[in-house]
Symmetry: C2
């Protein structure tokens, strides 16, 4: 089903980081006017100077009250606080409100309590890059990437169609699911991996206290496994604190898997160890293959 063309008379983006900035660039052709809300004067100056947005303010009410489409692209708990405490009073009727917070259950619940008439939909684009910040923005950041949409009690059929059109305008692929299911999935593929990466870096840093050659020898494997540990701690703290139960559950599952491998390693049961490592390899290779097929089918 095509969602139909997305247009906005006035698009307001709250939070001009990598995501918000990239959204402004990607949606330029579809919006008559784009305004931004961001607390950082340097970011506001930059975004106006390069023409990423038409105007920028640090005042939420000023930024959003004339908009017909509002995107909340701030850290999760900033979004939560805005949705719970303030934004409902500022928005016009029939405004499409989408957030892009990395956890969805708390935000979607809060959206459900907004005034009737606000067309609120939870969102999460599954994309990113190592750099962060507005100046790293790219119009193609969402291209062919999954963009999860989660219904709220304020998601009317019309809101849903507008959100689908919004995702299509970004060049992303909409995947609709409820917020609870989303949070469980990202706990597995994103939040658990972050904690593992951080615990690994801490373990390796402890080794390096006794032997500085650790850092000199660390190579590609460590590079990959440590990348997530470099993520912004406040952002990740927000995410973990709004997805604690799912992350704790996945941690318990992970511990079991690791304990099995450890038992086989220590007991030198090489046959059993290989029998557990082989399906992991198969699953990784199948996933990579699936990703590559996806790209081919996109013609990309």
């Amino acid at each position: 089903m095509s969602a139909g063309g997305f247009t906005a008379k006035h698009l307001a983006i709250v939070g001009l980081g990598l995501m918000g900035g990239s959204m402004a660039l990607a949606l330029r052709p579809y919006a008559d006017r784009i305004t931004a809300v961001d607390p950082d004067p340097h970011t506001r100056d930059y975004a106006c100077r390069v023409g990423m947005v038409d105007a920028a303010t640090d005042d939420l009410k000023t930024g959003v009250s004339e908009a017909d489409v509002v995107v909340l692209a701030a850290p999760v708990r900033t979004i939560l606080s805005m949705v719970r405490n303030r934004i409902g009073a500022y928005l016009r009727m029939n405004t499409l409100l989408i957030d892009i917070g990395s956890t969805k259950e708390d935000i979607c619940n809060a959206m459900g309590a907004l005034p009737i008439g606000i067309q609120a939909v939870g969102g999460h684009p599954m994309t990113g890059k190592e750099q962060s910040g507005c100046e790293a923005s790219e119009a193609t950041l969402f291209q062919n990437r999954p963009f999860v949409l989660c219904p709220t009690r304020r998601t009317t059929p019309a809101a849903r169609l507008r959100a689908l059109a919004f995702v299509e305008a970004l060049g992303a692929v909409a995947i609709e699911m409820d917020a609870h299911r989303h949070d469980r999935i990202v706990a597995a593929i994103s939040h658990l991996p972050y904690l593992l990466s951080a615990a690994l870096v801490t373990t390796v840093a402890q080794e390096a206290e006794n032997d500085d050659a650790v850092w000199a020898l660390a190579a590609g494997g460590f590079r990959d496994m440590s990348r997530l540990a470099g993520q912004d701690v406040r952002m990740m703290g927000d995410i973990l604190s709004t997805n604690t139960q799912a992350v704790a559950t996945l941690l318990a599952h992970f511990r079991m898997q690791l304990a099995m491998l450890e038992a086989m390693l220590i007991s030198r049961d090489e046959q059993k160890l290989a029998e557990r490592l082989t399906p992991a390899r198969t699953a990784r290779l199948a996933w990579v293959q699936r990703q590559e097929n996806g790209r081919k089918n996109d013609g990309g």
Copy 2:
């Protein structure tokens, strides 16, 4: 200290995978003749056809008995078996014997029992790429990468200088250390990360059994964290079985780190959680910076 020019009248490479093949390509200018020993007829045909080596055989004795430099580039336990059981009887006096097995203590101990006159040095190039196999070989694979050299009881001062010259000819950076220290370091930066990656993929695959959208949403973070799980299981089994004690020790340290994070997460002690996650981020960023400075200083 410059190690002086490396030359070989007859270089024999045992095992023509990515490493052995890349070594053949890199050392072409320094060797009058290169022969290879490999059990796979397709690999032997390929290497001879493209001129990577001058001749290839599946017979160890034929391949190495005329060589003045022999590189063992097979899986760790194949190297161990050759060093313990056979190669001592095949080699000429004063042959430089280097292996590139990923664990060093068992191999270096075995090398120490070779006949006096064999110039044996343990080696481990800290490089690689996602593809494996002879056809993925690149002459530049070792360029500016660390190459650990570990002394054995058969490493004379002359052997050490020849090994240093060998590493220099590869374009790599020699780092000398004893085998026990090497194995502890790679347990931290390479073998522990492999087990974490495998346990993560298994955990995620288990989730995906209940919800296929897991694979569709998995993105860059999962890509990085799952890459090591795709490594060859037999190769990794060899490595783990020859480094069990160090890996088990690092696993115990890692478990403690992860348990600390888990306790803070579940008790919602966000301040303490941030205080533990911040040093991990700092360490990762410092390591990346160090790597980048290293590349700049290489003029690369």
